[in-house]
Amino acid sequence: MDERVAEYKRAIESIVLVAHDPVPAELLAQLLEEPTVMVEQWCEELAESYRTEGHGFELVNIAGGWRFQTAPDLTPYVERFLLHDQRARLSGAALETLAIVAYKQPISRGQIASIRGVDPDGVLRTLQARGYIDEVGRDSGPGQAILFGTTATFLEKLGLPSIDDLPPIAEFIPGAEVVEALEVGLRVTPLIEVSTGGADGAPSPEPGRATDDDTTP
């Protein structure tokens, strides 16, 4: 039994070595004619053994499959060999748009525009050209707007196993202090009323600013 497992692990190594893209555990399971759960366990064990043996490569679960990649601490050597920095950095606008698409997919251009407040056309084109997003369907509404979603390349770019591994969006909803700052900033109430609420009661020389620090909900 142990010998067979060793054989399967060797087979996994050989298949992943020749693959262009991450190999899904399901595909490995099909090729080995073994259950997917077992294959997943063997992959984990292989990955762990590479780590403990201190190899220069690692086996990782990324974008829905397993692949070989170089260990992160060896980047200087690999970059020196490849002679160029292959990393394509994304602008703030591109990252924000990508974030919206990732969490709200499928999403139309118009919906992105209304969240960002700017026309996302150019950014969408760049993200699509780089393969991070793609058209995933059409809106059923009258305009039949194109809907966008993220791709496997996006997951690879972020080093994530699947879209479910994105951090939960709830973690990013601004905290009470931010909401408060915005509310104060956009307060409708006339200034006269606002400035009378202070505990000290003394009229401040700059009424609009006085409430900034001590507004309590």
Partner: protein, 275 residues
């Protein structure tokens, strides 16, 4: 190598001028500008005066050398809401308020608040994405594929590809993408001023009464001229000479002449864009 305009570092815009790269803060649209004004610089709405936003905006245009009309449209909308909020806060007598107007304004404010919060949420997510990508970039995947020993086994990747689909791919790839920027080969020094544009509008608007912003700017070649005219519309709105209506978000804006018969156009002209 093709360096696209988006590959600059987050939060900065690089403009290559004779070899030197100048980095300046960038507002990613009107929400972002407002967010930064309120949160980063910790200024209260009371301190945000219109002229300083307009100044910042013009400065931004000058730095970026690139402007999309939609950016301007979004900015105009938010500026309008801000002006209204500001006006309400400065109102001497709160009892003088029309309740319907008051609710409408609250609604607008809540909408703006909600959108700012949403914008802030994704801005924070973008930071995390940036970090994830940076970490992931440290590892290089093996994408070598099978060696020559497997040459016979590798399936033909062109199977199912027709000549027609190749032709279509060529058309897709070779058709230049529409680029929403100023025609750089015909940029002239900017000669018009906001005051000039205000004068033109004061001549035109009372005659036409109601006109879409698109029509109002259809004769203008340069985007910068369009922007200047839009700033002029904003100025007239501030002075209460026009009303602005936009039925659809990001749709065309209607400019409606709403001044009284005895509206003092001369006063506006003198006042226009003094700050």
């Amino acid at each position: 190598m093709a360096v696209d305009a988006l590959s600059t570092a987050p939060g900065t815009a690089s403009s290559a001028t004779s070899g030197t790269v100048v980095s300046t803060p960038v507002y990613e649209g009107p929400f972002d500008m407002l967010l930064q004004l309120i949160l980063r610089e910790q200024v209260d709405i009371y301190d945000i005066n219109l002229s300083s936003i307009v100044d910042a905006y013009l400065a931004e245009i000058e730095r970026m050398q690139l402007l999309d009309l939609d950016v301007a449209t979004g900015f105009l909308l938010i500026a309008a809401t801000l002006v209204e909020l500001k006006a309400r806060r400065l109102l001497p007598n709160p009892t003088d308020i029309d309740l319907d107007d008051e609710f409408a304004l609250w609604e607008e404010r809540d909408m703006l608040l909600a959108r700012l919060l949403e914008a802030k949420t994704f801005k924070d997510v973008a930071q995390i994405f940036s970090q994830l990508a940076e970490d992931a970039d440290l590892s290089f995947p093996r994408v070598v594929g099978p060696d020559e020993r497997f040459g016979d086994v590798v399936p033909d990747m062109l199977e199912g590809t027709s000549v027609a689909s190749l032709r279509n791919a060529a058309i897709r790839a070779l058709t230049p993408k529409p680029v929403p920027v100023v025609d750089l080969f015909h940029v002239n020094p900017i000669t018009t001023t906001v005051a000039d544009a205000v004068a033109e509008l004061l001549d035109e608007l009372p005659r036409v009464g109601r006109i879409t912003f698109r029509h109002l700017t259809s004769d203008l070649g340069d985007r910068i001229e369009v922007i200047i005219r839009f700033l002029a519309v904003l100025e007239l709105y501030k002075q209460g000479a026009v009303e602005i209506d936009q039925p659809e978000r990001f749709g065309d804006i209607e400019v409606i002449w709403s001044a009284d018969e005895d509206f003092d156009t001369a006063a506006i002209l003198i006042d226009a864009y003094d700050g």
